[in-house]
Symmetry: C2
Subunit: 632 residues, 2 copies
């Protein structure tokens, strides 16, 4: 096998050879796997050939080099092309490409994930790579202060996703001249032509109107591609660049070029042979593209020294809203750790992210009312090693569900805070009430779900989140409630607190957040009637404190009341009973109080009562369980 | 109380009086409630005053009149203004406005919901009213074929939501000249100025680039407003209209005009008094605006005759993918019921919505890759009485989570179908695998969650969905599996099927979709070892067949294995155990098999095995439970 090296000075003729190699390898990989998207790869091969030979500054031996450019395939289904690039730069072998793509236990997955060290974020749910790239570019421009560029390859179908426009809007707002979006306008989607086809003018008007510099090119004219990438890569001025490349799906293989019916279909072996022949056969060019400027020693870690956190202190009995404690704690964290950054969806005065924004304006990114972009930017920031805390009303985090899910696949550590949980918020009504968020966040792979009831526990848990891998979520409450724990009390992720217990407890009451306060009131009322109730603050909904729950179940003959300000499915109740059953707990007599109707407006108290999750209903359920004691 | 009537011929001086009344009533309502958004209402009062007096064709005595225009407050927090409008047209009394707004048990909720007959869809999660309006306008133009117009009031903050741009894009694509978006550009968001402030040119470039006709006006100059509404209301041409109205937040009360810090804050009583005085006091104008043209008798119901459904028939043992059966069943439904319409997110060849699109192109709406708009359009169509089925990959329905949640609050009947569920899909990898969808859909208020395992059950359940109120969800599988049920078998929502049972069952195996087939294989293996296993097809995940589950638990001494192709939280396992515990079932010994790791690519078989949810793992779990029998 003859290996020919290609340097940045290689002629465009040689680059054309590389483009043919990328096409051929995309075909070989997908045909060998029996699945994948060769035609979507072929349309973008010329863009990538020029980029990696002449413009992408990247130390392939050190994917984490701080000066490296970033390459994100927002059209993640073009993974054959990305992996062909990885072969061309010498980090993936031809053998791996041919035997590892889309195979079980291998790292060349159907859509790229950061299992590969050269992949920043997982893509494959369209319209996410560019928003994530905005986060990476924000880090580069405002935090790392590195000269790296972020090159994002987008498909044209995904330009129908609103999230793409949220991304371009924020890219322009934050003057991300280090962000280059390469739009592969190949006219054909999965099941038919795209909305706008080859109306490049229409795309250009949109991208320009959103504040970007637009370069329209023939994506198969290497000279035009070269000029555009050169211009885009300057990262001069204050605008992000959008390259609109008119391309042909399946380019290079006449049998499929610009034809419908070939999306996501590998060529059968005989067709693949013909395609490879038409493209001039298999090649083994090795690209030695530009390298990043070396970063001066110490430059990267500058200011990254971490100090002890001066945890905010609250007094037992004093009224404080957990959302306020979130803001306080975030400021304390920010003082101690310069890697902590915050984002909010233009409700920072409600979530109290405002406190951080005021204390550390350089580390606060306002995302306005664009929750998808907020989570994506946090994902990109996290991919650059920042500890990003993103907040909005818990109800509106549902807007970013797909991005949170992809964040987990991206293996990033993300911290989310959702305020105004449940019917407790009162007058604003159901549109503003998060009643599904615990279910959503628990079902995210590897997630941590926290729901504190007072200021001290909130502050401790926000601090814990900074050290928690994966996606962590803090649910906060609108109203102020009495402090339960003295300053300095510790709260482990996966722990719980037993707030009341005795040797003769007849029933266990489990709450979190606002319902914990209701459980305490219920226990007091029950005590007056001679019923001893154990009360557990289940502030760590996932992971959950199985040992404490099991001990309580055993101590109270399986009699448990769980109250939550959430729909009945998938929340605290499920978390508790899943844990008890998994631990083999027998003889459970559970009553699960949750929000089962459609709430309207009202005061928080009225709505907690209406939903049947207030102290009176908890006490009634406990009475019912203990009254039936004899039947066991 | 003197009531003065205002007709469409009223002078703009009189309309100005009405605008003052709307402001005063917005202030009075919010101050009386102690919460709400007076300043956001005041900026749009002039727009609404002109609209309801001169342009909104509406029979207030008959909110369901087919010729009525539609008025949607996408900026739902301006509810005081909407309710002031309802007072001005005489359908809500001043007393209700002053005592009912944001109060418990009342219909004037903090954000509008269809509890009120003049409200089409619930708003309050920003960026949804306009997308919903696209659905209403699609119905008007293509299905109802009525001359009504859809007037949507948007705030400027919500223009940061990508969903707004998905909506304008689709409005232009579908030539919705009957859709008028009135953008209230008051410059101030909740926590600070908006991104674009009063850069009306910037907004105009964006809206024009997205294919709409744009009219830029001073939103407080009644003559300009009048001209713009007149022009917009023509519904001529092929473009939707966007009115960009430069307005002042808090307009009319000099103490707060254009000032930060007054979002979402009612005025204290003394301020309210000064504001009302400045606005000329309380008025009682009664608007008699334009009425819709009468619809000829029979015109509305034309073609709405419903025939019997020719349910597709599948043979036991024949391999069919449930996603294919979805397409087949949808075509059969479409033949029988002209109210059935379908939408898809540009994956119709994967979800098999393609079959419907080909059979009934006039009732199919391609939404391209814009899942939020897809669900919103379905919501708008449903608000007009159509039975909208919307499909995409189940994983990508997470993109529309907030819209699904709001659909429930909108009280619409929505049918969603998510294909390619779980690790079963194989090679495409985790980004395409729905592993959170059951948790998401179960937690939606009033939802129905169905997960069939073969063609016959899928066809029956798609038919059932057409008659199911609220949000219903069908989860389908990529691969083809053997038919289990003869054609004609019935499947009740809330039911289940016991596929294997005997008088001496030692364990119950519960599956749905692909895992049901694995349960059946496991049962066969167990039978060969002398272990009799009951097998339940839990095709109705919500509501769930509590009686059959309880009977099985009792028959098998509480020994139950549940297997699901979903993350462990909130899915089938929780549904089953929640039901058993709620039914008071004791002595449960459950094993819950679910996808606990982060999957990669592979074949479906490899991944089911890797996840521990295939027949081998189910059988092993059953053996473990039955081996421990003696310990009970």
């Amino acid at each position: 096998m003859t290996i020919t090296e290609l340097s940045p000075g290689a002629s465009l003729e040689r680059v054309a050879d590389l483009a043919a190699q990328l096409r051929v390898d995309s075909i070989r990989a997908s045909t060998s796997a029996g699945s994948g998207h060769p035609t979507s790869s072929m349309s973008a091969a010329d863009l990538l050939a020029v980029l990696i030979t002449r413009y992408l500054r990247y130390d392939w031996d050190d994917p984490h080099a701080p000066g490296n450019d970033h390459l994100i395939f927002s059209k993640g289904h073009a993974s054959p092309l990305l992996y062909a690039v990885f072969k061309a730069v010498g980090v993936v072998s031809d053998e791996e490409l041919m035997t590892g793509y889309r195979r079980f236990g291998q790292r060349l997955e159907g859509h790229p994930t950061p299992v590969l060290p050269w992949v920043d974020v997982a893509t494959g749910s369209l319209g996410q790579g560019l928003p994530d790239g905005v986060g990476v570019a924000l880090a580069g421009k405002y935090l790392d202060r590195q000269a790296f560029r972020v090159w994002v390859l987008c498909g044209d179908s995904e330009l129908a996703e609103g999230s793409i426009w949220e991304a371009l809007d924020k890219a322009a707002y934050y003057k991300l001249s280090n962000l280059v979006s390469m739009m592969d306008i190949n006219r054909l989607g999965q099941s038919g032509p795209t909305e706008l086809g080859w109306q490049l003018d229409a795309y250009a008007r949109r991208a320009e109107a959103f504040g970007t510099r637009v370069l329209v090119i023939d994506g198969h004219d290497l000279a035009e591609v070269d000029d555009a990438l050169a211009e885009a890569g300057q990262a001069a001025g204050e605008q992000p660049t959008v390259i609109l490349a008119k391309t042909i799906k399946g380019r290079g293989f006449s049998e499929v070029e610009d034809k419908e019916g070939w999306h996501g279909r590998p060529f059968p072996p005989d067709m693949a042979d013909r395609a490879i022949a038409e493209l001039g056969g298999v090649r083994n060019l090795l690209v030695r593209g530009p390298r990043p400027d070396p970063v001066p020693a110490g430059a990267e870690g500058a200011g990254a020294a971490k100090a002890a956190v001066a945890t905010p202190r609250y007094t037992v009995g004093d009224q404080v809203a957990t959302r306020k404690a979130y803001g306080d704690a975030l400021v304390a964290l920010g003082a101690a750790d310069p890697k902590v950054v915050a984002l909010d969806g233009e409700v920072k005065n409600s979530t109290y992210a405002l406190e951080f924004a005021q204390a550390y304006p350089d580390r606060y990114f306002e995302m306005f009312i664009a929750e998808q972009q907020m989570v994506a930017a946090a994902t990109g920031l996290a991919a650059r090693g920042y500890k990003a805390f993103a907040s909005t009303f818990a109800a509106f985090l549902t807007r970013a569900h797909d991005f949170i899910r992809m964040g987990a696949i991206s293996l990033v550590d993300l911290r989310l805070a959702g305020s105004h949980a449940g019917v407790e918020i009162g007058a604003d009504g159901p549109s503003q009430m998060a009643l599904e968020d615990l279910a959503m966040m628990r079902a995210v792979h590897g997630s941590t779900v926290l729901y504190p009831a007072d200021g001290t526990s909130t502050a401790a848990l926000v601090e814990a989140m900074a050290a928690t891998p994966g996606i962590s979520y803090l649910r906060t409450t609108r109203g102020a409630y009495p402090g339960l724990y003295p300053a300095g009390e510790t709260f482990a992720v996966g722990g719980s607190k037993v707030l009341r217990s005795s040797d003769h407890d007849g029933v266990t009451l489990i709450g979190a957040g606002v319902t914990l306060h209701e459980c305490l009131r219920a226990a007091q009322a029950l005590a007056a009637e001679g019923i001893a109730a154990r009360v557990i603050d289940c502030y760590s909904v996932k992971p959950i404190d199985s040992a404490t729950l099991t001990a309580a179940a055993q101590a109270t003959s399986g009699r448990i009341v769980i109250a939550e300000d959430h729909h009945p499915e998938g929340g605290l109740g499920s978390a508790v009973t899943d844990a008890l059953l998994a631990a083999g707990q027998k003889d459970l007599s559970t009553v699960h109080l949750a929000v089962r109707g459609m709430p309207g407006s009202g005061t928080g108290e009225e709505l907690l009562a209406w939903a049947g999750i207030d102290a009176d209903h908890i006490a009634a359920a406990a009475r019912h369980l203990t009254r039936n004691r004899a039947t066991h």
